[in-house]
Amino acid sequence: MSLIELKHITKSYPLEDTQLKILKGINLNIEKGDFVAIMGPSGSGKSTLMNILGCLDKPTSGTYVLDGQRVENLSADELADIRNRKIGFVFQGFNLLSRTSALENVELPMVYANVPAAQREERAQKALAKVGLKERMHHMPNQLSGGQQQRVAIARAVVNEAPIIFADEPTGNLDTKMSIEIMNLFTRLNEDLGRTIILVTHEDDIAHYAKRIIRIVDGEIHSDERNEK
């Protein structure tokens, strides 16, 4: 059984008197431990697909089985619970809480998972150490560089032992050197810790870190191939 199974997923929004179809029947399986890059021009529907995969949005029709559980019809709170336990997010704009230390940002997923305070701190410290920010765990986001902020976000995404990490243009706001650093971190998470990583990007050289590249065009899967490194 695959970790993610999408069958005939569509998504449409009402637009005046017609429906605007963003996704037109996506069928997709992603195996545990894979590293997938989703590519496509803007307006292709890749962000919508990402939101559905990440349980932030619901499809209009189709079925979505995540880790053996049907999720397409769950309530907002049930989806919040799935996101908390199964998914870690890394965003283009880092999305750290301002005026909140790196340590407390990393603790956040555990706050909503009801992990006791003492254990939260210990696990957050370990996660920050893994991304090389042990010395800076008490810094606020505005005291950290972009690359460091993104590493805090990655620590936050992995701290709850979530099996899947979604990264939406994670290097979009970073320079080349930082980007390489971040992509190497993802590769390590995938190879050493077996985390499944789904990456949305429009840059070919970023997509090449992945093992599998899926191209979305006009709401449909245009190509889906293994990436030969």
Binding site: A76, A80, V111, Y112, A117
Partner: protein, 409 residues
Amino acid sequence: MIDARTIFSIATRAIKANKMRSILTSLGIIIGVAAVIVMLSVGHGAQTSIQNEMKTMGSNLIIIRSGVATSSGARSGHGSKPTMKKSDGDAIQEKIPEIKLAAPVLEETAQIVYGNANWSTGVTGTDRRMFEIKEWNLSYGRMFSSTDIRSAAKVAILGQTVVNELFGDVDPLGKTVRIKGIPFQVIGVLIPRGQSGNGMDQDDVVYIPITTAQKKVMGISFPDQVKMIMLQAIDSQSTYTAQEEIRELLRQRHNLGVNKEDDFVIRNLTQMMEMMESSTKVMTILLGSIASISLLVGGIGIMNIMLVSVTERTREIGIRMAIGAKAWDIRWQFLTESLVLSLIGGLVGVVIGLLGSYLVGVFSSLPTKVSLIYVLMPFSFAGMVGLFFGFYPAYKASLLNPINALRYE
């Protein structure tokens, strides 16, 4: 659901992040709570002083005074035409079952002398019924006996103030004082009662037997004359129902024809007191409600700021939701924030309110009285205001869609 301590620290962090704004927001609650406390303490103080007065005056009181004298069309005040006799009171007590006691009163201000010391005070001729009505006991010595009354004995019972002024540390019992030059033996001293509600010293009194007052001390124009009669009814209701019977009886005793006006005045003190008490109660409620409006306005201020805060922090809400916060977690976060804001405001308001009531009590003639319930009430009201006005912003925050919230700039 996340634990209370974490949610509390999230709320206090948000409040501290915008210190000036938080202070201004709480200010509405601070002023509201302080105003409610001061207003209630003023109203409560007035009520308490009336109740105290009622207690010391005696309960269920009716007072009968002589009527109004009219000479060449000019009417003098009550009691200007003496008509009441001690025997009128005795008859009322005997014949009207609603009336328990009838104490005669004949009073005058007089100079009272002991040795080199002298003091001017009100001298009242009465009998032991007066002390029963006022529920006023002797701290030492003895009460007027029937023999004292019958024989118009020259004995006196003193209030503590008079004792202090005339005797200092000397034991007054058995000593002789002169009232209007007539020697009286001190037989008893009353338990001190302090100031009455309107600031009169209740211990500045001298009591002598009614018969002595009538025959030896005060000038009277006919035998058995008194200035007034103090009646005590068996209960508060009877002070109303007995009035007509008293009137009938007195008209009959004074031989007043059908066309003649009453030559006496009946005043129901219980009625007066009850009216005063209920009007201060209304005043307390009124003052409290007006002050509560400012508390309500403070609550609206909190709602306003919380709505701004939710909008400003849309992205934060989106991040929290993406990471796994449920609607309830978000709702609690903002509700706790407005609750903490209003409770801090409430606490500061309590301190200022207590200080304010104290200052009003010291620097104005208004008596103030602070009681725990009148402090807890506005404080918990502030908490409820925080919850009530915090609910809508918190609810609005919890309905946000994480995708839109994350995209919010």
